[in-house]
């Protein structure tokens, strides 16, 4: 299959070398970080197959996702990817840790690590600023610290949160992100961890299969909360990127929300038009894990039910166990959507230009 004009991967997962991250921390945090403290409330649902792909290893035994050089040669080069948004793993637990000061310090060090030690290595890398929920003032400070860096393209946080993201507690984040024209991305994996709510909204499920399937419910919750609480009336230029939260549920949720709004508009008088119109203007979705019904035409029909040509962006999730390669994702799409999904929408939402950094 011919490559479209470009490929932009909106969800690539580097893992920092923690000993290097610690170099950016002062005491008392440095020794805690070095001794493996990944934030209070850390235990998570267990995937017996491992979350990281077993084959993400170089011939000389190095993990590919731990080094910017190997990530570039073993993934970006292989798939001819033009840009990749770095969403760091093994650190997002801090986003939902109740230990506010330590988590803010740790994530700040992680952010600096990627800006200092990954971005200069390859111009295809774009960085996210990961922030913690437990102290919004500190999170806002972090956005101000790095928000105007030309290759920082979004603020990253967990899709699981202590209460839904439309709540006014979070609004200072949106004000700060708007100031730098940065989208806010949410990423799954912390549901049921720390101060985040359970995966399924009916309570704590038993195992990883249930938990992973129900991650989509976090996104439904965040979508409805953000729209209904009037976040986009307060911050009209703000965009959210829903990373790895699924796609096919979106039209059904838009219909359901519109139907309820017709009856209950008076409870939220700032919603002066159908919520689905707000959704189509302010939300982006990433493709992976792309839904795979037996008959692929059914998935393509779902993409006709909302503005996929404006809202959908390719993501690989490499090197996670449930990733999609660019060629696989492309095959799931009608040809008239491919350019928009594989790169055009990402160019626009991240304010990139063709060839701006790419070598």
């Amino acid at each position: 299959m011919a490559k479209p004009g470009m490929i932009i991967d909106t969800d690539l997962h580097p893992v920092p070398i923690h000993e290097r991250v610690a170099e950016y921390l002062d005491e008392p945090w440095r020794s805690r970080y070095l001794r493996g403290d990944r934030g209070a409330g850390h235990p998570n649902y267990f995937n017996p197959n491992g979350v990281m792909r077993a084959d993400s290893v170089t011939a000389d035994g190095r993990r590919i996702e731990k080094h910017p050089e190997t990530m570039a040669t073993h993934f970006l080069d292989v798939y001819d990817i033009d840009y990749a948004v770095l969403n760091p793993m093994e650190v997002m637990e801090h986003c939902v840790s109740p230990d506010a000061h330590y988590s803010a310090a740790a994530l700040s060090a992680v952010n600096t690590f990627f800006v200092e030690e990954w971005l200069p290595v390859d111009e295809r890398y774009l960085a996210s600023i990961t922030i913690a929920f437990s102290n919004i003032e500190l999170a806002v400070q972090e956005i101000h610290r790095l928000g105007d860096h030309p290759r920082v393209v979004q603020v990253l946080m967990a899709s699981g949160s202590p209460f839904p993201l439309g709540h006014s507690y979070f609004h200072p984040l949106y004000e700060a992100a708007s100031q730098y024209n940065l989208p806010l991305a949410i990423h799954p994996g912390l549901e049921g961890v720390g101060i985040a709510g359970s995966g399924g909204t009916a309570g704590f499920v038993a195992n990883y299969l249930e938990w992973h399937t129900l991650l989509a419910t976090s996104y439904m919750t965040q979508l409805v909360s953000l729209v209904v609480e009037g976040v986009f009336q307060k911050f009209p230029t703000l965009k959210f990127v829903f990373v790895e939260g699924g796609v096919a549920w979106l039209p059904a949720m838009m219909w359901r929300l519109d139907k309820n709004w017709k009856s209950l508009r008076a409870t939220t008088p700032w919603l002066t038009r159908r919520p689905s119109e707000i959704i189509e203007e302010h939300f982006m979705l990433t493709t992976q894990p792309i839904e795979e019904p037996d008959d692929n035409r059914h998935f393509r029909q779902v993409l006709e039910m909302f503005k996929a040509e404006k809202m959908l962006m390719f993501s690989s999730d490499y090197p996670h166990w449930d990733g999609d390669t660019p060629d696989f994702a492309m095959r799931q799409l009608d040809s008239d959507l491919r350019d928009a999904v594989m790169y055009r929408n990402a160019l626009e939402v991240y304010g990139l230009e063709v060839g701006q950094y790419a070598v």
């Binding site: 609480e229 009336q233 017709k262 508009r265 008076a266 008088p269 700032w270």
Partner: protein
């Protein structure tokens, strides 16, 4: 086409602001409302799922506002369907959240009495 007839509703002074009367005319159930500035008549049929819309509450509603702000207004001008709560502007018949409208009928005031033309 049959000629239209005028159906007596009530004496004008008997329909206070915020009150309504139901009349049957030409096989239709029609609600007549006093919104304070007008007397209006609408078919007792919600265009959504055909509920008896005139059995809903007449009142005001929240006006467009900023997030977290609630401004009450349009008292006695908004009819709320008893089934799904759709709000209708009685002065236009327009639903506030959907393209559909209530069917309206001309109201005639003559000799201090209210008539609906059906």
């Amino acid at each position: 086409m049959p000629s239209k007839s005028q159906v007596y509703v009530s004496a004008l002074e008997e329909l206070a602001v915020g009150e309504s009367r139901m009349v049957e005319a030409a096989g239709k159930s029609i609600g007549v409302f006093n919104t304070g500035s007008r007397i209006v008549a609408v078919l007792n049929l919600c265009p959504h799922e055909f509920a008896p819309v005139c059995r809903g509450a007449l009142g005001g509603t929240t006006l467009p506002s900023k997030p977290g702000e609630f401004i009450w207004g349009r008292e006695n001008e908004i009819l709320r369907c008893p089934w799904h709560g759709w709000e209708f502007d009685l002065h236009t018949g327009q639903c506030l959240t959907d393209r559909s409208k209530l069917r309206r009928y001309p109201v005639i005031i003559r000799d201090e009495a209210i008539y609906v033309e059906v």
